[in-house]
């Protein structure tokens, strides 16, 4: 028999990450994080909250309080399908969908997810193909998702793939844009200005202190 994992269910203040909430609040759309009144409208309107380990309301509370580890390791952030129900219904105009995106990004950046977990794998594959070719390449993204997550789970799907192929709705042909160089320059430009802005902010902080 496996050992029952012993885990503290209550967090001490020392376990919290004080910079976490600030970081999330600093993204475009995160600025109203502190305004949450914990009414639960987001959880009620979310079509996926019944599958989540923490409802959206709890994720907001935990993010605000600095429960970084629990939030980034939660199933909730990945289940969010980005339907914006919570965002439009929130009485305090908190852009909850944007916050969920920010949490996903941080979890991906810090590699905090089970290695072959399908949702971040799909996001990463989509990202790398679209960045390189300028197009999403549905068929290729799906094949990579299957190979890099759990191929056995998808065996039952082969039939659907064949059917779509027969209907002319599935192809592995690589689609690319003509001026890939132009897109590359733009994407590099984003990173460049991001770095510049960061260094300006840092030097600003230094100057102040």
């Amino acid at each position: 028999m496996q050992n029952w994992p012993i885990e503290s269910k209550i967090r001490y203040e020392g376990d919290l990450d004080p910079g976490f909430a600030e970081g999330i609040a600093s993204i475009p759309g995160g600025e109203r994080l502190a305004h949450c009144i914990q009414c639960g409208t987001c959880s009620a309107t979310c079509p996926l909250s019944n599958y989540m380990d923490y409802t959206p309301r709890r994720i907001i509370a935990m993010t605000r309080a600095g429960f970084k580890d629990d939030v980034l390791r939660s199933f909730t952030i990945w289940l969010c399908a980005s339907c914006y129900s919570c965002t439009v219904e929130c009485p305090k105009n908190i852009k909850i969908t944007d916050i969920m995106y920010a949490l996903k990004r941080q979890a991906i950046e810090e590699n905090i997810y089970p290695k072959r977990f399908s949702i971040p794998v799909l996001a990463r594959e989509f990202f790398s193909l679209a960045k390189r070719t300028g197009r999403s390449n549905e068929g290729r993204v799906i094949i990579r998702l299957v190979l890099k997550s759990n191929p056995f789970r998808y065996i039952g799907r082969a039939f659907l793939g064949l059917k779509l192929m027969k209907q002319g709705r599935f192809s592995l042909k690589k689609e690319t844009i003509k001026r890939k160089g132009e897109l590359k320059k733009i994407l590099q430009g984003v990173e460049q200005t991001a770095l510049e802005i960061e260094s300006v902010q840092k030097s600003g902080i230094r100057a102040e202190s």
Partner: protein
């Protein structure tokens, strides 16, 4: 008026949304709407891209907007960029909003575009074909061109999330009616139901299939309960999720039977008397048996 057409990756080539592109272009041509494809368009930076890098996602979208501004530049009027995919539609709109509302985003995007000798002055209007058909061409005009009214066909209009959220640009956010009014103009009977804008699960069908099947089941069982013969969609993902997983919905959740899922453009095309093949009806997994229904009515 000329429109710039942005098909998006899901409606270009041999992809799930192929029939959407086919039926949309067939309908636009039949309605004498002139459009040209946006030259060298790229991925919009949709949901999954946004989950990895937000700034780059905005930049991807911004390139499309910049290209549209350049290509559509003539006279004072802002060029109209139209995309059938609801996800592309939202992210293009969102990019415009965030460039304006967040100076930090705007600054980054403008300098990134400048690095590739492009610029964007915010002069593009992003609109959905449903909006164009109903509000530019007009229901009266469309009704006058109907050759085969969809008499007796009960249509549940399914708008999905992203057509009305987070930005309700042309319709009511809670109870949109544009598609219902179009269906009525085609002679069909719009079904009043409450799940018009509930999420279909989007890419969860590829990652957490059980969850997506459940969401789809909720939508389709309600559409059936309200008496719908067909569900009309306006997004390639909604159509795919609702159509291609009906077998597990029937097996796991006791959905009472199959129901055809069509694009609103396919239903429009049928009413305009366009050939089935031009509308991509042969690509549907659950056959659309509307013509039988119209036939029944005529001979009854």
């Amino acid at each position: 008026m000329k429109y710039l057409y942005y098909p998006g990756c899901s409606c270009s080539g041999k992809t799930t949304g192929r029939a959407y592109a086919e039926s949309l272009t067939a309908v636009l041509q039949d309605l004498n709407v002139t459009y040209e494809e946006l030259e060298d368009w790229n991925c919009c930076g949709a949901t999954m891209y946004m989950s990895v890098d937000e700034q780059q996602a905005f930049a991807m979208s911004a390139r499309n907007l910049a290209l549209a501004e350049r290509q559509g530049e003539n006279g004072a009027a802002a060029p109209t960029l139209t995309t059938p995919c609801a996800a592309c539609y939202t992210i293009l709109n969102k990019t415009q909003h965030y460039i304006d509302e967040y100076p930090k985003v705007g600054k980054k995007i403008h300098s990134a575009l400048a690095a590739a000798d492009l610029s964007y002055r915010g002069k593009v209007e992003v609109r959905h074909p449903l909006d164009i058909m109903v509000n530019d061409i007009g229901l009266e005009e469309i009704a006058s061109r109907v050759k085969q009214p969809l008499k007796g066909v009960k249509v549940a209009s399914y708008y999905g999330c992203l057509l009305v959220r987070p930005y309700a640009t042309f319709d009511d956010q809670d109870n949109p009616t544009t598609m219902d009014r179009l269906m009525a103009a085609l002679g069909a009977e719009p079904v009043d139901w409450s799940l018009k804008t509930r999420c279909c699960g989007a890419s969860l069908s590829g990652t957490m299939a059980d969850v997506a099947v459940r969401l789809g089941y909720i939508l389709l069982s309600e559409a059936r309960r309200c008496g719908a013969d067909v569900v009309a969609t306006a997004c390639p993902f909604c159509q795919f999720n609702l159509e291609c997983f009906q077998q597990p919905m029937i097996k796991d959740h006791k959905l009472a039977g199959e129901i055809p899922i069509a694009y609103f453009t396919q239903l429009t095309g049928i009413a305009l008397g366009l050939p089935d093949k031009a509308l991509g009806l042969h690509r549907l997994s659950v056959p659309l048996s509307i013509s039988d229904k119209i036939g029944e009515q005529e001979y009854a």
